[in-house]
């Protein structure tokens, strides 16, 4: 702290003025300030001080309440943000790469049939055909065969429908 009690006025003045002027200057300042000491200003009354202290207590409470609201708002914002991020991540996981589902084209009759030997033969033939179609579809999708992707895909779908219906017909 640098209060005036720690200040050496004479030393300060001597830096700016010659020693005689510095002395006169210091005297003038001290005499001038003596007048202010003689005519002291009124003091605040006790009731005013008590009121101020009560006002301060209210202001502190307001500040703390405001801070609590602010912290709650920050926490709520963080929760909302986490929820949004969580939902986005969940959605990303939900849209996994497409898988070719072959099971749906196997007729229920195969599962319910009693003739296992005959069924096995049919299933083996069907599985082989499906695998072939699957690899063709993948090739078309990746554009490996160099053809018109859409038309080839349609042809393959037709082929698949045909296999499916011929299987039904036995």
């Amino acid at each position: 702290m640098n209060g005036r009690n720690e200040e050496n006025l004479k030393k300060l003045l001597e830096k700016l003025l010659n020693s005689e002027d510095a002395e006169q200057f210091e005297r003038d300042v001290l005499e001038g300030e003596q007048i202010l000491r003689e005519y002291s200003a009124p003091e605040p009354d006790k009731q005013l001080i008590a009121n101020i202290k009560a006002d301060i207590a209210r202001a502190i409470l307001r500040k703390k309440t405001r801070r609590t609201y602010y912290e709650a708002a920050v926490a709520a914002a963080a929760v909302i943000l986490l929820a949004i991020v969580g939902v986005k991540l969940f959605k990303q996981n939900a849209t996994k790469p497409e898988r070719f589902v072959a099971a749906s084209i196997i007729p229920a009759a195969v599962w319910e049939s009693e003739g296992l030997a005959a069924d096995d033969e049919n299933i083996a033939a069907l599985t082989a055909e499906i695998e072939e179609v699957e690899s063709e579809i993948l090739a078309v999708k990746s554009g490996e065969n160099g053809g018109n992707g859409l038309t080839d895909l349609e042809k393959l779908e037709m082929e698949l429908v045909e296999i499916n219906s011929s299987f039904w017909e036995g």
Binding site: M1, D28, E33, D55, I56
Partner: protein
């Protein structure tokens, strides 16, 4: 415990929002700040309001005190409170002139303000120019060094010293008349 350590402890308490520490701060500085406001305004009523405003403002502002001379910081805030009051008074006076009838009660209040009994020192301080008067009052009530006052007023220390010297000399002459 040294005085400055004690003050630092109180200020830290205030920063943590401790009402007891603020209460101690009020006990320590209310008298000086009240004298400062009274000598600037010449009115007890206004000084009452400004003192309350200052300490409530400190609750919000205390976190901006980053060390150094506390009195210097405190009286800078007090000076801002006084200047806000001056601006508000000027605004009210403008309103008063424009709408005299509507705010008759405020005019009466202003009249009371002028008619308050003032001492000889207050009268003679009023004869000094505003800047010198503020400087003399700041130096006396803040009790901070010339170096700090010069920094607060953003002027060289030599300017502060010579203004104060001239002002106090003139005040003495006026008081002797």
């Amino acid at each position: 415990m040294a005085e400055s350590d004690h003050l630092a402890q109180i200020v830290n308490g205030c920063k943590k929002g401790d009402a007891g520490s603020f209460s101690q701060l009020v006990d320590m500085y209310a008298k000086r700040c009240y004298g400062y406001f009274y000598r600037l305004t010449g009115s007890r009523n206004v000084s009452d309001d400004l003192l309350g405003e200052l300490f409530v403002k400190l609750v919000e502002k205390i976190s901006s005190y980053k060390g150094g001379c506390f009195e210097s910081w405190l009286f800078t805030v007090a000076s801002n409170v006084f200047h806000d009051h001056l601006r508000e008074k000027q605004r009210q006076e403008r309103l008063l002139n424009a709408e005299k009838r509507q705010i008759e009660s405020k005019a009466t209040e202003a009249k009371q303000y002028i008619n308050e009994r003032i001492d000889k020192l207050q009268e003679q301080l009023g004869r000094l120019d505003a800047d010198t008067r503020k400087l003399i009052i700041l130096r006396f009530y803040s009790q901070v060094s010339f170096k700090e006052i010069a920094a607060m007023r953003l002027e060289p220390i030599g300017t502060t010293l010579s203004k104060l010297h001239r002002g106090l000399k003139k005040l003495r002459q006026l008081m002797e008349q």
